[in-house]
């Protein structure tokens, strides 16, 4: 064995109890760091995954990026307008099929037209405001996972009746509707129609399941009282993380407002970033506290070994060798603590993942955790770094010892 390692190992081995306490400190720090990272990142990933699955990655709406300028505004430098009556009809996306065909040439993923509408749903004396989404069942499955969330019926069930509707299961329960129930839809545009419930779905998002209904495109167009209107093109990109860049390019190409899921959920993602900063601060603090234990043991050993250090220096050991001995000692404590911390962290994570609980916001009944090598490496890296720092100061003091002072004192 290497000389430095031999001396370091002998020192820590002969201070078994103190060494074990220091190792336990690092182990606990690493273990809890791994568990915390697994829990935080697991819930974050799960949340984002559900979000990405439930929403279109990019939503192109019929709003223009820049409001249309009045002709006089273009001609005159200073012009004021009073009493203008804007068109109440939604413009919709011009030539939606041509736009989709054009985007399909370069957008990596799938696109589908849809109509977003609001209507009051009436059944059995109850009125509920509902988001109605007009979809094309043949292409809907390419852009959303609603097909996989069907509890009763399928997307193709929308073809079964003339005005068919799929309801969120919570919405259906709220109004007491079942499959084949006839309900009434009244839109803000004044259109009213009878519709047949042909299926129910359950996404796991309470808001969606309580307030959303899917109909065919043409049904939504009737509700909007605009034949042929498409006011949204929904895009599902192959790589959800590339949605932001693709969205920007779509916006530039079409001139319509194109919003990626990241942009739509910016507040949430900022909160997640903030949460990550907090998490890593806490993880760092845990490991910092653990490093005090390492500092304590190395300081104690250095103090107890003052005479040995003087002997080694008188024999001709160099300062950096002495320094290295004590840094290696703290690294040994850090390394053994980290390895034990992996096991402890893994067991804690497993334990946490097995806990059952109920949240009012979603259907999860287990805490989502993420097992990632990155967490283990990160915790180990921080533990080793703090061990080196904790060992460095006592090691530096040891190397600076003047052998004559110690030898004189001893004799």
């Amino acid at each position: 064995m290497n000389l430095i390692l031999t001396i370091a190992w002998t020192h820590v081995r002969h201070r078994a109890r103190q060494t074990l306490v220091a190792i336990a400190g690092v182990m606990t720090g690493v273990g809890f760091s791994i568990m915390m990272a697994a829990m935080m990142e697991g819930s974050q990933d799960d949340f984002i995954r559900t979000l990405v699955d439930a929403l279109p990655h990019i939503s192109i709406t019929d709003e223009l990026r820049e409001p249309t300028r009045q002709p006089a505004d273009i001609v005159y430098a200073a012009a004021e307008f009073h009493g203008l009556t804007p068109d109440v009809r939604r413009p919709g996306i011009k030539n939606p099929m041509a736009t989709i065909a054009s985007l399909q040439t370069w957008v990596p993923g799938a696109l589908t037209p849809s109509v977003q509408s609001k209507a009051v749903l009436r059944f059995a004396g109850r009125n509920l405001t509902t988001s109605i989404i007009g979809i094309d069942p043949r292409t809907e499955a390419d852009v959303s996972n609603i097909a996989t969330h069907m509890k009763q019926g399928t997307l193709n069930s929308l073809y079964r009746a003339s005005n068919a509707i799929l309801l969120g299961d919570r919405l259906a329960n709220k109004i007491g509707a079942r499959v084949n129930s006839n309900i009434t839809l009244a839109s803000a545009e004044g259109a009213s129609m009878n519709a047949t419930v042909v299926g129910t779905f359950h996404t796991g998002f309470r808001m969606t399941d309580e307030t959303t209904g899917y109909v065919l495109l043409k049904t939504a167009q009737v509700l909007e009282r605009q034949t042929g209107i498409v006011n949204e093109i929904r895009v599902r990109t192959r790589d959800p993380m590339a949605a932001r860049l693709i969205s920007e390019r779509i916006g530039e190409q079409t001139g319509y407002k194109s919003i990626s899921w990241q942009e739509a959920q910016e507040d949430l993602l900022s909160a997640i970033t903030l949460r990550n900063v907090l998490m890593y601060t806490i993880v760092g603090a845990i490991l910092l506290v653990a490093s005090f234990g390492t500092y304590n043991i190395i300081s104690t050993i250095t103090h107890e070994k003052t005479r040995d250090i003087a002997i080694l220096k008188s024999l001709g050991f160099r300062d950096h060798t002495i320094r290295a001995v004590f840094i290696v000692e703290s690294l040994l404590v850090g390394l053994v603590g980290a390895v034990l911390g992996w096991i402890f962290g893994y067991l804690l994570t497993r334990g946490l993942a097995s806990l059952e609980f109920k949240t009012p916001f979603s259907d999860y009944n287990h805490l989502p955790v993420l097992y990632s090598v990155k967490h283990y490496l990160l915790a180990t890296g921080v533990a080793l770094l703090s061990s080196v720092v904790a060992g460095y100061f006592p090691a530096r003091s040891a190397a600076r010892l003047h052998p004559v002072d110690i030898i004189r004192g001893a004799t």
């Binding site: 081995r13 008188s314 001709g316 050991f317 004559v404 004799t411």
Partner: protein, 233 residues
């Protein structure tokens, strides 16, 4: 060019403080090969301080110490450590062995620090040195399992590990009984007579000093007398 192994030129050591304390004052001397030298003097006269200066464990306030004709004042701390490792061997009043290591490991330490020999050869040489001092049967023991005299013999073996030409000993028999004192002194004498080493030993024991080739008497940090015997003891 001096043939001296160690040479002190006007060496002084003053401890700084509100009241500066002079430990060694303007000492010049040369230590030649195969000399067996006693540094004597009353307590607090500066004998040990002079030895530490000659052994590069301490730096002089003024003057310089030359090892093999080379000034050590201009050397870095690492270079002085290298000289201690290769050219000098130390034996202290207390054995100063590392308590957690076996005596073989203790003797092997300087060789391992130097790194010139392969591990097997280091162990073989350590065991050979222990054998030569009658400690062959104790090679796996730790220092606390040996008597005072045995520990001091291990310390001498460790001082010889890298085969340095000079052994510096600070009261090597100061804590030993008379039997052990005779044994350890005999070993030091044999180092000069049989192995061709130079031994410089600080001692209070005038009887032992009288058996050595040369006696350097220090009083109040000054060289009071430097006397060489007519014939080797």
């Amino acid at each position: 060019m001096s043939a001296a192994l160690i040479e002190a030129r006007g060496v002084s050591k003053v401890l700084a403080g509100i009241v500066p304390v002079t430990l060694v004052q303007d000492i010049s001397l040369a230590i030649l090969p195969r000399e067996f030298i006693a540094i004597t003097g009353p307590s607090g006269s500066g004998k040990s301080s002079l030895l530490y200066l000659l052994g590069l464990l301490d730096l002089p306030t003024t003057g310089e110490v030359l090892i093999d004709g080379q000034s050590t004042t201009v050397m870095t701390e690492d270079e002085r450590a290298e000289v201690r490792l290769t050219r000098l061997g130390f034996v202290f009043q207390f054995h100063f062995l590392l308590p957690e290591f076996s005596i073989t490991e203790n003797v092997a330490l300087p060789m391992r620090a130097l790194g010139r020999l392969p591990p097997r050869a280091i162990v073989a040489r350590a065991e050979e040195l222990l054998d030569s001092f009658g400690l062959g049967d104790h090679r796996h023991k730790t220092p606390d399992q040996l008597s005072g005299g045995q520990r001091q013999r291990v310390a001498v073996a460790r001082a010889l590990a890298n085969d340095p030409p000079v052994i510096l000993a600070d009261e090597p028999t100061g804590s030993l009984d008379s039997v052990s004192t005779t044994q350890v002194f005999g070993i030091l004498r044999d180092l000069v007579a049989l192995r061709g080493k130079t031994v410089v030993a600080v001692t209070h024991d005038l009887n032992l000093a009288s058996q050595m080739h040369r006696r350097i008497h220090v009083v109040d940090g000054r060289l009071a007398n430097d006397e060489t015997a007519a014939a080797p003891a």
